[in-house]
Symmetry: C2
Subunit: 358 residues, 2 copies
Amino acid sequence: MLKDRARNIIDGLRNKANALMVFRPENIFYLTGFWGESIALCTQDGIKLFVPKLESSRAANESKYSEIITAERGSGLIKSVIPNLQKYSFCSDCSDYETVRSILPYANNSNFVINENPFRTARIIKDDSEIDKITRASDIIDKLYQVCSEEIKIGITEKQLQAKLLYEAMKLDGTSTCYPFTLNPFIVASGANSALPHFETSKREFVDGDFIVVDLTIRYDGYISDATRTFALGNVTNEMSQVYELVKKSQQCGLGFVEQGAECQKVDSACRNLISKYGYGDNFIHSTGHGVGLEVHEEPWIRPDELKKLSKGMVVTVEPGIYIDSKFGVRIEDTILVDENSNTSLILTKFPKELLIL
Amino acid sequence: MLKDRARNIIDGLRNKANALMVFRPENIFYLTGFWGESIALCTQDGIKLFVPKLESSRAANESKYSEIITAERGSGLIKSVIPNLQKYSFCSDCSDYETVRSILPYANNSNFVINENPFRTARIIKDDSEIDKITRASDIIDKLYQVCSEEIKIGITEKQLQAKLLYEAMKLDGTSTCYPFTLNPFIVASGANSALPHFETSKREFVDGDFIVVDLTIRYDGYISDATRTFALGNVTNEMSQVYELVKKSQQCGLGFVEQGAECQKVDSACRNLISKYGYGDNFIHSTGHGVGLEVHEEPWIRPDELKKLSKGMVVTVEPGIYIDSKFGVRIEDTILVDENSNTSLILTKFPKELLIL
């Protein structure tokens, strides 16, 4: 329940701190329901939400269980929380170096500790309302793959498909996510472009024999789902079909390990070992998956050497891929709600994974 | 010229540092043409671009004048640049507190200085290729306001208009920008919602008597333009028309001060004084404008007390607004290329500003 979230985090700190100073918009949204320019100060007594004047009415409308305090913008907002540094001992998610430097001189060493882990740990297990939103985002993604199966044709460009998909997503109340390392809302990569996992969608036209990788991240009411399907257009080679089937099997292997108590590295190695066995280990050039929620990429990390264990209520992706430079790539990805065993873990993105030849 | 940018910044540092360690994607794009997960290390001898494996082919395709060095992802990427800390003295734009903390132990005090100003200063004056892109983004915005004038009707929702506008933008090779304090690609705010400057677009249907504020930020090939128009639907009140005309005059006043040598605060006060004179000073609850380029908001800041002067080649917004809580709001904004005097400063967003009653 949103109402209890801040208090639960504070309780989890035991005596190391008795208050939270929260800067990241996704954490503030998690604690208050408001996504905007603000600093949240949470104690056992409640939440004070410091916002610039231009955000105060919106914050009052959208936040819950919060007292709104209006302040100046930018550095003025930081100044407005400084008097509290002597009253409480804070755990903060502040990640901006300049902001930290402007706060530390006013804090004793011990009463302003930067540690995002308590926030990450709280957000890693999704409650029913969060699962509902990720499920809604997943449903939108399923519909978009249906659109792909209708729209992908020879002569259509990657950008045209991307525009159409985002339009349909928005009509279904989805929005794009913001991943800072791309200029694109999501990935549509065809032909040789599909060999680049994070390709920036181009004006290339689809041609016969293409693989088309469509990696969709869609947000619904704050929460994200993430999936990838690879479509075939016309006559693909035997090598392409074989690589597709290998990635599909690899992903299924990984899904079989998604359950409470499984080390993340076990899911990664399940996918990776199969791909390596068939000689494509060097072509699987990224990790197997990640948690998803208010951010596209969040804990837990499904990668080699990650000993953290999955728990019921986590939501993660499993997305092996094989990339043959200058030729083609295949990636298949689902978003999965972790449950007690892999048979009851729920794949939220349900569009079929058989190779669809369009 | 992109080729000279890194060297120009290093030259400007004189002897304070002889190399750059660049983390922010917009600065790396500015220096190399590549937007992605990477760290750029620039010296007088050239640029080394450290990228994770999954980005290496794309970085090789998209970056210019750079040697690509493949490394592990995340903390692995940071580790890969650390051996260079003993070879050069760096100026860095690193803003992430954790990253700074992981680098500083390997640097002498003097050979890793965090200072984003040289990057901001370089980017504040746009060259011809940058102006061309911002102009293209502005042209897209003009076309989108034409779409607004055709699409805004009683019964259409804010979200429907937003989806349509983004679709049209993408068909014109524009993309949305990512402003971290919103879940929306841009603002469509109608009726009482328009009184909230950063309203999150809703499913509210337009009704007779609405003002509809449409604040568009559109990116073309990396570069952004930013404009706002306020449309009227049907029978608006005399107060609404009067407020509209006042904001329009205020904006014209501000535009008259946009020229080389003008203090930024002069542009702000030109807009603000007129609004205050007519009694709406407390309803103008944000600053007057900002620079625009690879980020939606960048230097210079057009706000009270900002003594920095405008220079030829800067690109700024002028966007006064009046917000009557729970009733309506008006904002009018253009993106302007600063020239030697206000008559030759070029308003890049050209859609008319007369009150359009639809």
